[in-house]
């Protein structure tokens, strides 16, 4: 509750200066522990990535060869090409040996190195989810603090209600509805992809074309996820609402808006920041659905196609990359939380 010492920004600085020598060593120890934890998680993910997909039933080659007039010999040749005739443990050691040089092998479907494919599909995903994350966070936090300040009021009821409705809606469905209304029927926005085929290549034309393609997928992602930011911000601000320091601020004659913005919100942001980072990881994983609906050429779509293959090297690659992004985001959350909250630092 609000009886904990409320650290204002200036308080953080003073504490930091006062404990400078101590902070140094404990900071590195903390960083080391967190990095070690992240590294262990990553190793586990890599191991899991290999075996989980090897355990998948079915034979990729049989699936690829199905309904093609292929002879048993041709199928055997393919199996050799993919290294599937090797014993499992040897495939495992090959995989481990390669993975630390970021080599996930060659995709069955695309016949190209997985790392090259991931490199190519990585940035569109970052562009899409990054934009969606920034907008969702901004919208969620702003609505959240407004709702909390007059919680129970009309604004709160509408904002919370609407956001929760969108949050409960399946992403796939919402995407398709938006696509149908604004793409198919009204024709305001393109129906898929990142660029129109043969679109202008000058920087302005290209940028505008990409933005037009981003509107619907970003809208879908923002609509579905902004509720979680709103709710976190709202509840942490409500917790701060009766704090003594707010009474002090009001007593100084500050306008209500300034009391909220300068005093209450910075304190409420503390728990919010960590959650924001944790949710970004989830948002990137959620890209699979949105990218599939809008044919966005990103990692999510690549994963979706790899599952259908099943393109094992590609699946392993995207699995490791998605997991790594989530692990890094959690690590950042830990570090930033410590930076913002002196209580964590002292502990």
């Amino acid at each position: 509750m609000s009886n904990a010492v409320p650290p204002s920004t200036s308080a953080i600085q003073t504490t930091a200066q006062a404990e400078e020598p101590q902070r140094d060593s404990s900071f590195w120890r903390y960083l080391g522990a967190k990095l070690g934890g992240a590294a262990i998680s990553l190793v586990m993910v890599v191991l899991l990535g290999f075996f989980a997909f090897k355990l998948l039933p079915g034979d990729p080659v049989a699936k690829i060869a199905r309904e093609r007039p292929m002879s048993a010999e041709q199928i055997e040749t393919l199996r050799e090409q993919y290294g599937l005739n090797k014993p499992l443990f040897q495939q495992f050691f090959d995989f481990i040996g390669n993975v630390f040089t970021l080599n996930f092998g060659e995709s069955y479907v695309y016949r190209r190195p997985v790392s090259e494919l991931i490199g190519q599909y990585f940035w569109p995903t970052i562009l899409l989810t990054g934009t969606a994350a920034i907008l969702a966070i901004a919208l969620g936090l702003w609505l959240g603090q407004r709702s909390a300040w007059r919680h129970g009021g009309m604004f709160d009821k509408i904002a919370s209600g609407v956001s929760l409705v969108f949050w409960s809606v399946p992403t796939f469905w919402l995407g398709l509805i938006l696509l149908m209304v604004f793409g198919g029927t009204l024709r305001w926005f393109p129906t898929g992809g990142m660029r129109s085929p043969g679109a202008p290549t000058d920087p302005l034309g290209l940028t505008l074309d990409v933005i037009a393609h981003m509107v619907l997928p970003v809208l879908t992602m923002v609509a579905v996820v902004f509720a979680q930011y709103l709710m976190v911000m709202r509840s942490s601000l409500i917790e701060e609402m009766n704090a003594d320091y707010l009474t002090t601020a009001r007593a100084k004659g500050l306008r209500e808006d300034l009391v909220r913005e300068r005093h209450a919100v910075p304190n409420a942001l503390l728990p919010t920041v960590t959650l924001v980072f944790m949710h970004i990881g989830g948002l990137i994983a959620g890209a699979v659905t949105v990218e599939t609906v809008f044919s966005w050429p990103g990692l999510g779509k690549l994963t979706f196609e790899a599952i259908q293959g099943p393109d094992l090297p590609l699946l392993q690659g995207t699995f490791v990359v998605f997991s790594a992004i989530i692990i890094v985001m959690n690590l950042l959350a830990d570090l930033i939380y410590r930076q913002l909250d002196p209580r964590v630092r002292r502990a």
Partner: protein, 574 residues
Amino acid sequence: MASPSESAVSATTMRLATSGFIDSFNPFTSIYLTPTNALRYMYENLVQYSAEDGSPTEGLAESWETEEDGARWVYKIREGMTWSDGEPITAEDVKWTYDQMMEDDLMGTANGSLVSNFESVEAPDDTTLIINLTAPQAPVPGQEIPVVPEHIWSEIDNPSEYPNDADVVGSGPYILESYSPNEGFVLKANPDFWRGAPSIDQLQYVYYTDNDASIQALRAGDIDFISGLTPQQFSALEGEEGITTSSGEGRRYTSIAINPGQVTRDGEAYGNSSPALADVEVRQAIRKGIDSQALLDNVMDGQGVHATSFVPASYETWMLPEDDPSIMEFDPEAARTQLDEAGWTEGADGIREKDGEKLTLTLQIDGSDPTEQALSEYIQPWMADIGIDLKVEATDSDTLSANTTAGNYDMYFSGWSLGPDPDYQLSINTCANLPTDTEGNGGTTQDGYCDEEFDSLYEQQRTELDHDARVELVHEMLAMNYTASVQVALYYPNQLEAYRSDRFENFTKMPTDNGIIANQSGYWGFMDVTPVGESGSGGGSQTGLWIVIGGVVVVAAIVVVVMISRRKKSADIE
């Protein structure tokens, strides 16, 4: 400012939605449907399939004859043809292509089985090609295999790894112009094509991961052609302005496979099918208990053709005729009688029993496939009606494929797409294609069927050069397989397609009367397509663009105003 979509999409560019995988555009190794279709457009074959009915017709060869009872084929290559870079096309190019596939396993990845009967290929002069076979064959050799230019491909160091997605030199109606792996690819009309250049300049394939999204793209005019619709999607598009739908007899059959008990080539049994199914009487009773016409009408919305055997109706000559004496009608009463006579008598609970064993079978379905779910909902009560307790077990497609390979099934839904010559599909119903081990590996059998008489008929039809006599033999084989009932062909699903008829017309179907446009065995579908005047379908995305720009400007203005007003109020002090 010019709209991006209008300046780029001229009236003679047709845009097609595609969702298929592309491994490469290498004609020797590419095995996925989408690039295989593109390769059909890019490289002419020695012998082509006709649009009328898929029968052999002129390709690079303008005529051919057989010697030594079909063990030696002599082709006359048309004079004056050129590759798209202007070099002449000669018999030497064909020989080089086939030699690569015969000598190198990797170069035979895609079409190796089509040259496995080749002993040697000769090119005595530029316009004569001779194929010597190890054994006579009736299906014309040289179909289906893309022929590549030797002067280009012999210069490539590692041709089986070559992606072939830039600077392509080809001989077909369209040549690959550009490929962007995550967005699509473009085929450009080949003015040097020996039948004459196609009427439209470009085919632009655009990736749509989701089928419903591509339907919206068609409605919006973002694309002009779409194939592979479900019956529900198809009927939703019917009557939409500017769009024409086409329901064509396809290359597929849908069947329900019935496991008679699997054996390896050496006769070793494997798999765990119900012993009751080893009895042909039980399998036939199941066939008689299934109303496949009702399935076609209700599940497929009537979009298909009632099936006889595994050769679809689009190959009319080869299909087992509806009036063949082997055909069994839907007749539950006859099914019950047949089961009675086979010793399966009805128990107190309505389920038949024999020697204390109940007649309980399992139908495995792919739970993610709504069609299989719908089919099973009809079949289950029909089986109960004839006294068979059918359990429906939903699983995922990978598990299903693993189970069926290992012979661990009673019944499951199966199906194949066929080429115009039934030889390959017949071959995978011979004993020679049973697996070599008890895990189901080393063979490509369709349903685990094996019958020596069928095998000897197979050899006969393969060498029968008289077309009518060969058709007779094939019908006889299909009837045998029908009677054995290791599978019940339910229907031949139509391929459902739709296109912007306000922009394009004159699509060529294969077969011509009632066939399909995309995914043909030939290259006819878009060859004669012509644009229908000008149309403003490009305006849609421009509107969206201006809305975005407007939105950005408004937001920016608001931010600026707010910032300025904040500045003024910052006189508030703490």
